[in-house]
Amino acid sequence: MTATFFDVLRGEWLKQRRSLAMWMVVAGALFTPAIILALRLLRYRELPALHASADYWTRLWHSAWESSAVFFLPMGAVLATSLIVQIEFRNNAWKQVHALPVSKATIYFCKLAIILSMLLLFVALFSVATWLTAAIPAVIVPGLQMPIAPIPWRDFVLDDFGYIAGCLPIAALQYAIALRYRNAMVPIGAGFLLWVGTLGMLSTRWASLSPYSVTMLQYIGEGSERKIPAPAFDIHATALVYFAIFVIAGYVLFATARQKG
C-alpha cells in the first residue's frame, strides 16, 4: 500500500519533535509578548489606568506586532524553513526519504505543509501570548481587572490571516532554495539579503514587488499616519501570486533533480 499524504504528514510532524525549528518558532512567537509582560509587571502601578482605556487592545496589538511584523515573522520564516529542510541534510536522510514508497509530490507538499503549520503556530502562539500580557497581570496584580474594552476579535483574526498570507511567499521561496543547497547558510544568507533589500525598498511605492515586504507593509499600513507611499499593488494578492509561482518552481526543481539524497 502506498503511503497517504496524511501518513507522511504525521511522520514529518514527528521529525519536528525537539527540533531546533520548533524551539525557534516558539521562542520567536513568545519573545515580544514576554518583553511587554515584563515591562507591564515592572510598571504595575500604571496598569489600572491602562486597562481602563477604551482602545487598550488596539494599542497593545499594534505595539506587539511592531517587531514581529518587521523582524521576527519574516526572519522566523527564513530560519524555520531552512532548519526544517536542513533536518534531512544534516542527518543524511534524503536518501532514506526518497527510497520510501512515497511520490515526490507527497514528499514536497508534506514538508511544505509542515513549514506552513509552523508559521500558523507562530502567529497563533503570538496572538495568545499577546492576550496573556493583559490576563496575567490581571491575575497577579491585586485589584487589577481585565481591560474593560471589548477585544476586536474580527480585526485581530483578519490581521493574523494577513500576516500569515504575507509569510507565504517568503516560506515558498526559502523552501525552494533550501531544498537545492546542502549548506544551510545559502538559504539563510539569501533570505537575510532579501529582507535587508526589502527594508531599503520600503520608502518606495514599489516595495510590494518584494516577496518579503508584505508583513512590513501590512503593519505600516495599519498605523494611524502613513509614513510611506501607498503600495503599487494589493499586497496580499501579490503575496498569493508569488506564493503560487514559488511553490510550482520549487516543485519542478525538486522533482527534476538528478541526484536525490
Binding site: K15, N91, L100, Q259, K260, G261
Partner: protein, 307 residues
C-alpha cells in the same frame, strides 16, 4: 527468476563513465555479494536501483517490473541502507522507527521486533545522537527491515562494526535469508566477508562487471588456480627430473611450483625425486584464494587498460 535485473546500465558523470553497461542479475532468495574496490561504482549502481540517481541509459527491473513504471509499489517491497545509515539524531531509535512505521503501514509491534532482532531493545528510547557507530549501523539495518521487505539492499553494512558485531550481522542477514526468504544485495569491499555470507557474487571494477555467478562458480575458478609446491635439497636437479616426466616446474624463492596434481601424480613425483638421491623437504597444495582471483581480475584490467 531474478529479484533484480539491470540491462546495460550506463551512468556518466560529466565526462567520466562511472558505470559501463552493467547487467546485474540478483536471483530471488539469494544473498548477492556485490564486490569491488572503493570507487568501483557499487554505490552508484545501488543508488540507480533505488531511483536516487536519475537513470541515463539501460533498464532496471525489480520483481520483474520496470522501476519507472511502478516505483512506489516496488519500493514498498524493498528495504535499503545506502552508504551510512539515515535517521534523525534528535529522535530516539524508537521514534525513528515510529515515523517510518506510520508511512510504511506495518504493525507497531514490528518496532519492538526489529529492535530486538538487531540487539537494540534496551536502548530504544535513547537519542540516536548518543549511539556508537556500530549501534547506528544496527539501527540502519532495523530501518531497512522494518516493513518486512522481500528484497533488502545494504551498502557496506559491516562498516564500523567490531569483529563480534560483524559475526552477529552476518548471522542476522543469513537468518533473514534462510527463515524469511529475503533476497539480499550486500555491497562490500571486504572479500572475506562476502565469501562467508554470499551465495552469489558480482565483482565490479572501474564501472564494469568482471564476474557474476554463484560462489561455487567463483570457487571453481579458484580451483583452477591451485598449484603444488615442492621444496627439495636440490631444486634445479629436481626440476630436470620433473621435466623428464613432462611436468614443467617454475622455480620460486620458496621452492618449485607445479601445476595442480592429483594424489597419484604427487606420489610418483616424490618417489622419482627421492630415487634420484634428492631429499624432499616439503610438498604442499597451494590454494588460490578469492583474494588472488579478485586481485587477478582487478590487476588484469589495469594492465590491459594501461597497454
Amino acid at each position: 527468476m531474478f529479484c533484480l535485473q539491470t540491462r546495460h546500465l550506463v551512468y556518466r558523470y560529466r565526462h567520466d563513465v562511472v558505470l559501463d553497461g552493467i547487467d546485474l542479475q540478483v536471483p530471488q532468495r539469494s544473498i548477492y555479494g556485490f564486490l569491488g574496490p572503493n570507487g568501483a561504482g557499487k554505490t552508484t549502481t545501488l543508488r540507480l536501483v533505488l531511483g536516487l540517481l536519475t537513470k541515463q541509459q539501460g533498464e532496471i527491473e525489480i520483481f520483474g517490473k520496470r522501476l519507472q513504471d511502478d516505483r512506489c509499489a516496488i519500493l514498498r517491497r524493498v528495504g535499503s541502507m545506502i552508504e551510512s545509515p539515515s535517521f534523525y539524531d534528535h529522535l530516539s531509535a524508537r521514534e525513528n522507527l515510529l515515523l517510518l512505521q506510520r508511512i510504511l503501514h506495518c504493525p507497531r509491534q514490528r518496532i519492538d521486533d526489529v529492535l530486538a532482532l538487531v540487539g537494540l531493545a534496551d536502548v530504544g528510547r535513547k537519542r540516536t545522537a548518543q549511539f556508537s557507530l556500530g549501534m547506528k549501523q544496527r539501527l540502519g539495518i532495523a530501518i531497512a527491515i522494518l516493513h518486512e521487505p522481500e528484497f533488502v539492499i545494504l551498502d557496506e553494512p559491516t562498516n564500523g562494526l567490531d569483529p563480534g558485531g560483524i559475526v552477529e550481522m552476518r548471522e542476522l542477514l543469513q537468518r533473514l535469508n534462510r527463515e524469511r526468504g529475503v533476497t539480499l544485495l550486500v555491497s562490500s569491499h571486504l572479500l572475506a566477508e562476502v565469501e562467508k555470507l554470499a551465495t552469489h557474487v558480482g565483482i565490479l571494477h572501474r564501472g564494469r562487471l568482471r564476474f557474476q555467478g554463484t560462489l561455487r562458480e567463483l570457487c571453481e575458478r579458484q580451483r583452477g588456480l591451485q598449484s603444488t609446491a615442492l621444496r627439495t635439497g636440490d631444486d634445479r636437479a629436481a626440476a630436470t627430473i620433473l621435466m623428464q616426466h613432462g611436468c614443467r616446474a617454475r622455480s620460486t624463492e620458496r621452492g618449485l611450483l607445479l601445476p595442480a596434481l592429483d594424489d597419484v601424480a604427487v606420489a610418483a613425483i616424490v618417489r622419482d625425486v627421492v630415487r634420484a638421491g634428492i631429499g624432499v623437504h616439503e610438498v604442499a597444495a597451494v590454494r588460490g584464494d578469492l583474494e588472488s582471483i579478485f586481485m587477478g581480475m582487478v590487476e588484469d584490467v589495469g594492465v590491459k587498460e594501461a597497454a
